[in-house]
Symmetry: C2
């Protein structure tokens, strides 16, 4: 038994996303748990999920969980807000290892942060339409007022590199105007790309509004969960012992590598391509 | 044999696209060949194709062609520029019915339209990266100068409904500036969404630049091809004889219906969902 527990401890954490945005969660896990191994999967052949249905997002997510389980992960973080919003209940039911989504973590943090109980959530059309954040917040703060707003252009603007740009400012002004007028004091950045334009969003909302980044919260809750279960890695993998970090995508491994290195500033040497429809 | 030819004539034309944009080709076929039946497939579960690799776009396109062949189509129009650019040679080799892509049709038209032999092409990153338009134009006008520019934000801007908007003007100014400076006299709208912001593109380029819409050309060439092969429908399907137009998607049939009715202004009563990964 001793050996088994030792072995489980040092298995990797699985993280997945519809594409590259989930690397913001990877970055947080690297910071908060530098000893952990990570296997990341980004579904770059079918990205984005944010304009797709619950059924499709669930099917894609289930395929990815099967792939990660085959990679022998000890736990899974669903880094994609849309997948967490639409597929998490189904995934939790069937997943044989502990699994954690960004919605619950983000809702915990927002519930703790709000003073006036007026909380905004921004995300993809699919995430906002699911009302998953709303439900998760109301189960924590029953008298909260939760205002959702989908921001479909934020992901393409981030991917086009317009992180600081008058066009992004203008689009942010339009998307966030109502949230400003409604007097929220807390705003959940409910899409993995949004922390990359945190500056623009923060300026638009003004100083009185706290921005919650579920990526940070997810890494923190994952650490607590693994600690509770005595599943934290007990030492950093030695160099040459196989990669501490492995990256898989369903398409465009080269482009992924370039973008990944912008986000996590850690030398990603390679990403491998997987035919995810077969899982 | 007489009966066989009659039967083939009245089979539907298959049209496919990565999503909804290919309806601009459907609209042209409806206008130019009002007697024809059409079966449309939009890959809304995996849209967009424009940021994906040749291998992935080819695999997806081959699945769709297999689906359309099962629907018993007499010919296929590849309405998606990215699929035409990346997958057309592979599709042409294996497709058992006549198949036509937007690239060849667009190149024909641009070659006929240009005076100074300076031709611009705008499209997705995948279409522009493939240089398919460039090669097709040079095979027609060997001393042409072809200048490509990818415009990744145009599709999300169109889908967000910003067809006439200062933000779209500003992004168009940035994307098209170099094409203006290089003195092109002809510009191919190499993505099915772009005709929907033709006004903005036309204003940005100025009156001296002819805009080529491959959707129009594709319908025209398809009509010629069917006429040559004596495969044009010989009468409009009677009402109640089964739908003249059938629409299939891989996800989000309801949203498709709404957008489709904006584009083709023909009452699309329903769209059915297909699990395209199985083909």
């Amino acid at each position: 038994m001793q050996t088994d527990t030792q072995q489980i401890k040092n298995l990797p954490i699985g993280v997945f996303d519809s594409g590259i945005g989930g690397l913001t969660v990877v970055r947080e896990i690297m910071k908060q748990m530098p000893d952990e191994r990570i296997v990341y999967f980004g579904d770059t052949a079918r990205v984005p999920y944010g304009n797709k249905s619950k059924e499709t997002v669930t099917k894609f997510s289930e395929q990815i969980v099967r792939f990660l389980i085959q990679q022998n992960v000890k736990a899974i973080a669903v880094a994609c807000n849309t997948a967490s919003a639409q597929a998490f209940p189904a995934l939790r039911e069937s997943c044989p290892v502990p699994i954690l989504g960004v919605i619950e973590a983000g809702a915990d943090s927002a519930a703790a942060a709000t003073g006036n109980k007026k909380i905004g959530v921004i995300g993809t059309a699919s995430t906002i339409g699911s009302e998953a954040y709303q439900k998760a917040i109301l189960s924590r703060v029953p008298d909260a007022e939760v205002i959702g707003r989908s921001c479909p252009l934020f992901v393409p603007l981030v991917e086009e590199g317009l992180w600081e740009d008058p066009v992004t400012d203008e689009i942010a002004r339009r998307y966030l105007e109502e949230l400003c007028n409604r007097g929220i004091d807390t705003l959940i950045l409910g899409c993995t790309h949004y922390p990359l334009i945190r500056g623009t969003i923060g300026r638009t909302m003004g100083e009185g509004v706290k921005l919650v980044d579920p990526a940070y919260e997810t890494a923190r809750e994952l650490k607590n969960l693994l600690a509770q279960k005595n599943m934290l890695a007990d030492g950093r993998p030695a160099l040459g012992e196989g990669g501490q970090y492995e990256f898989y995508v369903s398409d465009m491994a080269d482009k992924f590598k370039t973008f990944a290195n912008m986000i996590i500033r850690y030398g990603i040497l390679s990403a491998r391509t997987v035919d995810i429809e077969k899982y």
